[in-house]
C-alpha cells in the first residue's frame, strides 16, 4: 500500500510539473497567449490529483468516472493554489482558452498517471508491478522529453523566420504569427534574402557543387570499392583497413596546409578548390559503404557472366552496377547531404560573395546588421532540402547509415 501511495505521489508531482511546463510553453509558443506556467503549483496539485484517481477506483468501476474525479481534484487544487488564476491569467479574462488549457493540463497529468497504473492494483504492488508502473511513466516522460528537445529548436527556427526582430525582443516566448499581414508580410525575410542577398544564386551554386561532388565521388569510389571487394591484389587487406583511418582524420587538420597551398595556387577563393576537397573527403566514406555492399552480392552471378564471355569491365557494367543501384543511390544521397551541409571549407576558402555556397551565405548573415529573422530564414532554406531528401528516402537511408556508419 505504501509503495502504491509513494509512487502515486511521485508520479502525480512529476507529471503535474512536466505537463504544466510543456502545455504552458506550447500554448504560449503557438498562440502567443501569455499563459505563464504555474509549474510548481501544478506539481503540488498533481499529488492530490493522483491520489484521488487511485481512491476513486475504490468508489466506482467506471474508468471515466475515476478519471473525472482525479481531474476534478487536480483542477480544483490548482485553481485554489494559484489564487483563482491557474495559468497566470484570472479565470475571467480568456475564459474559454483558460478552461480548455486547464482541462488539457488536468487530462494530461491524470491520464499519464492512469496509464502508468493501468490494470495495476495499487494496494498490492510488488516490486515487479511497481517497476512496470515506473517503466511506463519513464517512457511517457521520455517521449515528452525527446519530442520537446527536438521540436522546440526546429519550431523556433521556422517561426522566427516569419517574425520581426522587435516582436521577438519584446516577448521571446511569443512565436505566434500574424497571418493577416498577407504573403509578402509573412515571407518578407525570404523575399529579402532572395532579392537583396542573392540566395537564389547561393542555392544554385550549392546544388552545382553538391551534385558535382556526388558524381566525382562515385566515379572514383565505385571502381575502388569493386577492386577492394572483388579483385585480388597485394595489400588489399591493408588498403581496406586504412580507408577507415582516413575516415578519422579531422577536417581541421587539413585546413591549414590546404589553405596555404590553395592560396598560392590561386585555388582558394574558387569553386574548383571546393570541388577538389569535397570529393576527396567523401570518397573514403563512399568507398567503405559501397565495398560492404559489393561484398554482399553473390559472386556467382559475376562468374557466370565471365563464363558467358563478358570481360571484367563488362561484368561490372552489366551485372554489378545494376544490382547495386540501391546502394549507389543511397551513397549518392549521403554524399549530397554531406556536401550540402559542409561548412568548414566553404567558410575558410570562399571570400567572394559571388561564389558563396548556401552554408557560407547563411554564415555571412551572422552579423549585427542583419536581423535575426533573416538568419533564421536562411537556416530554414538550407535545412529544407536536406530534411525533404531525408524524409523521402528515410527507410533507405537509415539502412545505409547503420551499414556504413556515416561520420558526423
Amino acid at each position: 500500500m505504501t509503495r502504491g501511495l509513494t509512487l502515486a505521489v511521485i508520479l502525480g508531482a512529476i507529471w503535474g510539473f512536466v505537463a504544466a511546463v510543456v502545455i504552458g510553453v506550447s500554448v504560449t509558443l503557438v498562440f502567443g497567449v501569455d499563459a505563464s506556467m504555474t509549474a510548481f503549483s501544478a506539481l503540488i496539485a498533481g499529488i492530490p490529483g493522483a491520489l484521488a484517481l487511485l481512491y476513486a477506483r475504490e468508489l466506482t468501476d467506471n474508468p471515466t468516472a475515476q478519471f473525472a474525479i482525479g481531474m476534478g481534484v487536480f483542477a480544483v487544487v490548482l485553481v485554489l493554489l494559484t489564487g483563482l488564476a491557474p495559468l497566470g491569467l484570472p479565470l475571467g479574462t480568456v475564459p474559454i482558452t483558460s478552461v480548455l488549457v486547464l482541462a488539457t493540463l488536468a487530462a494530461t497529468t491524470i491520464g499519464a498517471v492512469a496509464i502508468a497504473f493501468h490494470k495495476k492494483d495499487w494496494k498490492t504492488l510488488n516490486r515487479y508491478r511497481m517497476e512496470e508502473v515506473l517503466v511506463r511513466a519513464l517512457k511517457g516522460l521520455g517521449f515528452v522529453f525527446f519530442t520537446a528537445i527536438i521540436l522546440l529548436p526546429f519550431y523556433a527556427m521556422l517561426m522566427t523566420s516569419f517574425k520581426k526582430q522587435a516582436e521577438l525582443l519584446q516577448n521571446p516566448l511569443d512565436y505566434s504569427i500574424n497571418i493577416t499581414q498577407g504573403f509578402a508580410g509573412l515571407f518578407s525575410s525570404y523575399i529579402e534574402l532572395f532579392v537583396n542577398f542573392d540566395f537564389g544564386r547561393f542555392i544554385l551554386i550549392s546544388t552545382i557543387v553538391s551534385v558535382t561532388t556526388v558524381f566525382l565521388t562515385l566515379a572514383a569510389s565505385i571502381p575502388g570499392a569493386y577492386a577492394i571487394s572483388r579483385l585480388r591484389f597485394p595489400g588489399r587487406v591493408t588498403f581496406s583497413r586504412s580507408i577507415l583511418l582516413i575516415y578519422m582524420v579531422p577536417a581541421i587538420v587539413l585546413v591549414i596546409p590546404l589553405y596555404a597551398v590553395f592560396s598560392q595556387l590561386g585555388l582558394r577563393d574558387s569553386l574548383l578548390g571546393l570541388l577538389i576537397v569535397y570529393p576527396a573527403t567523401t570518397i573514403p566514406v563512399s568507398l567503405y559503404m559501397l565495398q560492404g555492399y559489393f561484398r554482399g552480392l553473390p559472386s556467382e552471378l559475376e562468374e557466370a557472366g565471365m563464363m558467358d564471355g563478358c570481360t571484367r569491365l563488362g561484368v561490372i557494367r552489366r551485372i554489378t552496377l545494376p544490382l547495386s543501384l540501391p546502394a549507389i543511390a543511397s551513397v549518392a544521397l549521403y554524399v549530397f547531404m554531406i556536401a550540402w551541409n559542409e561548412f568548414l571549407f566553404a567558410f575558410m576558402f570562399l571570400d567572394s560573395p559571388e561564389i558563396f555556397t548556401l552554408s557560407r551565405g547563411v554564415v555571412s548573415l551572422n552579423s549585427s546588421e542583419v536581423p535575426r529573422q533573416h538568419l533564421m530564414a536562411g537556416a530554414v532554406i538550407v535545412t529544407i532540402p536536406v530534411l525533404v531528401i531525408f524524409l523521402w528516402f528515410e527507410r533507405f537511408l537509415v539502412t545505409g547509415l547503420t551499414a556504413g556508419s556515416v561520420k558526423g
Partner: protein
C-alpha cells in the same frame, strides 16, 4: 597489420601468373583515382602540417611578394627630337620578404628611343628593360630616363606612353618552401598556460559529448523498441538533429539560449526554475556544458539508430526466460539487455569519442571558442587564422594528430572484430 601485408605479398609473389597479374593491374587502375585524391587532399596535407609546424610562417606570408612598378611621364613632345622625362617607381608589396632579381619591362610605342638617364635601363627593340636588383620590403626605387621621339612616332599618331603598362617580375622566397626552421611554434603552443586548459576542455567536451549522446541514444532506443502507431514518424523526427545542417541548428540554439531575449531563459524564469537570465554560451563554466549538451543533442540519433538496430536483432529468448523466472523490468534491462549491448556501445563510444574529439564546427559556431570552450580543434583555427600564425596552428594540428594516433591504436586494439565498423 604489417604482418598481414607481408604475408599477402608473399602469397602474391608465389603464385603470380598472367591472369593474377592482369587482375592486379586492373585493381590498381581502379583504385588509382581514390589513391590520388586521398593522397593529395588528405595524406600529404596531414604530413605537410609537420613541415608547416616547424616554420616561421604567418598568414600574410602566403601572399607571394610581388614587385610593382608605376610610370610618371613629364614633358610635352611636339616635334621629332623632343623627349619625355619618365620616372619609373618600383616597389614591393611584401611586408617582410625581400624580392630578388627584380626586373621590369615596358613596351614603348614605335619611334621612341631611350636616350639617357638611369644606366640600369636598356632598350632592345621596342622594349625598355630596367634591372632593379634586390627590392627590400616596402622600399621604393626610382628610375629617371629620357625617351626621345622621332618622326615615326608622329606617323603612328603620337600614342601615349601610358597605352602600355610596365610590368615587373621578381623572385621571392616562398615562405612555404624555404628552408628556414624554428621550434618557436611548439614552444609558443606548449608554453602558453592556456594549452593545458585547452587540452582539459577538449577532454571534458569529448567525454561529456560522447557519453551524453550515448545515454540519450540508449534511452531513445528503449522507447522505440515496442511498436506503436506513429513509430515511423517518431523515428524520423528523432533523426532531425543529426541530418540538419550544423549552421542551421547552431544558430537556432544561439538564439534560443540568448541571455537577453532567448526563449530558453524566458521559459526558465517564467516557470520559476531560475531567478535571472543565464548566459548559456557566454559564461565560463556554463558554456562548456552547453556545448556538451548541443553535442549530445545533435549526435544521440546516431547512437539511437545503432543501438536500436542491435536490439532488434537480438533474440527474445533470454528475455522470455528471465520473465518466467520473475525478473523485474529493470533487472531484465540491467542483467540481460545491457550486457548484450556492451559490444555496440563500446564501439560507438570509441568511434564517437574520436569524432567528437575531431569536432570543430559546432563549438566554433556556438561560442567561437570563447568563455572556456576552446578545444584543440578550435585552437588550430584560433592560432592560424585569428592570430594569423599558420605555423602555430599547424603545431596544434600536429598535437591533435598524435592524440588521434593514440585513440586509434586503442580503437583497433579494443574494438571487438565482429563489431568492427
Amino acid at each position: 597489420m604489417a604482418k598481414a601485408t607481408a604475408a599477402d605479398l608473399e602469397r602474391a609473389r608465389r603464385r603470380i601468373g598472367p591472369i593474377e597479374r592482369r587482375e592486379m593491374r586492373l585493381a590498381f587502375g581502379m583504385l588509382s583515382p581514390t589513391v590520388a585524391a586521398v593522397l593529395l587532399v588528405v595524406l600529404i596535407p596531414v604530413l605537410a602540417n609537420f613541415w608547416i609546424s616547424v616554420k616561421p610562417i604567418e598568414l600574410a606570408d602566403l601572399r607571394a611578394a610581388k614587385p610593382l612598378v608605376r610610370e610618371r611621364v613629364q614633358g610635352e613632345v611636339t616635334k621629332p627630337g623632343d623627349a619625355f622625362e619618365v620616372r619609373y617607381r618600383a616597389r614591393s608589396s611584401a611586408p617582410s620578404e625581400a624580392v630578388r632579381e627584380v626586373v621590369f619591362t615596358h613596351e614603348l610605342p614605335s619611334g621612341v628611343t631611350l636616350t639617357g638617364g638611369d644606366d640600369r635601363c636598356a632598350q632592345t627593340g621596342a622594349v625598355l628593360r630596367c634591372d632593379v636588383g634586390v627590392l627590400e620590403p616596402r622600399a621604393r626605387v626610382d628610375f629617371n630616363v629620357t625617351l626621345s621621339v622621332d618622326q615615326a612616332y608622329f606617323d603612328a599618331g603620337a600614342p601615349s606612353l601610358r597605352d602600355t603598362d610596365p610590368e615587373a617580375t621578381g623572385k621571392s622566397k616562398n615562405a612555404l618552401t624555404s628552408f628556414e626552421f624554428t621550434f618557436e611554434n611548439f614552444r609558443k603552443v606548449f608554453d602558453a598556460s592556456e594549452f593545458w586548459d585547452v587540452l582539459w576542455v577538449s577532454i571534458v567536451y569529448t567525454i561529456g559529448g560522447t557519453g551524453g549522446a550515448l545515454l540519450l541514444g540508449l534511452f531513445a532506443a528503449q522507447l522505440m523498441m515496442v511498436a506503436f502507431p506513429g513509430r515511423g514518424i517518431m523515428r524520423g523526427l528523432f533523426l532531425f538533429p543529426y541530418v540538419s545542417p550544423v549552421i542551421a541548428v547552431a544558430f537556432t540554439w544561439i538564439f534560443l539560449l540568448d541571455p537577453f531575449s532567448g526563449t530558453m531563459n524566458a521559459i526558465l524564469t517564467k516557470t520559476g526554475v531560475t531567478d535571472g537570465n543565464i548566459n548559456f554560451l557566454g559564461q565560463r563554466g556554463i558554456a562548456l556544458w552547453t556545448v556538451i549538451a548541443f553535442e549530445a543533442w545533435r549526435y544521440f540519433p546516431l547512437a539511437f539508430l545503432f543501438i536500436l538496430a542491435r536490439m532488434q536483432s537480438l533474440s527474445s529468448d533470454l528475455n522470455e526466460a528471465a520473465e518466467m523466472d520473475g525478473a523485474t523490468p529493470f533487472q531484465k534491462f540491467w542483467y540481460i539487455s545491457l550486457p548484450q549491448l556492451v559490444g555496440i556501445i563500446s564501439t560507438l563510444f570509441l568511434l564517437r569519442f574520436i569524432w567528437t574529439f575531431n569536432k570543430f564546427d559546432d563549438i566554433f559556431l556556438l561560442t567561437g571558442g570563447a568563455s572556456g570552450t576552446r578545444t584543440l580543434t578550435v585552437n588550430v583555427y584560433e592560432q592560424a587564422f585569428a592570430l594569423s600564425n599558420l605555423g602555430a596552428g599547424a603545431a596544434v594540428a600536429v598535437v591533435i594528430f598524435f592524440m588521434l594516433a593514440i585513440f586509434l591504436a586503442f580503437y583497433f586494439k579494443f574494438v571487438p572484430k565482429e563489431e568492427g565498423m
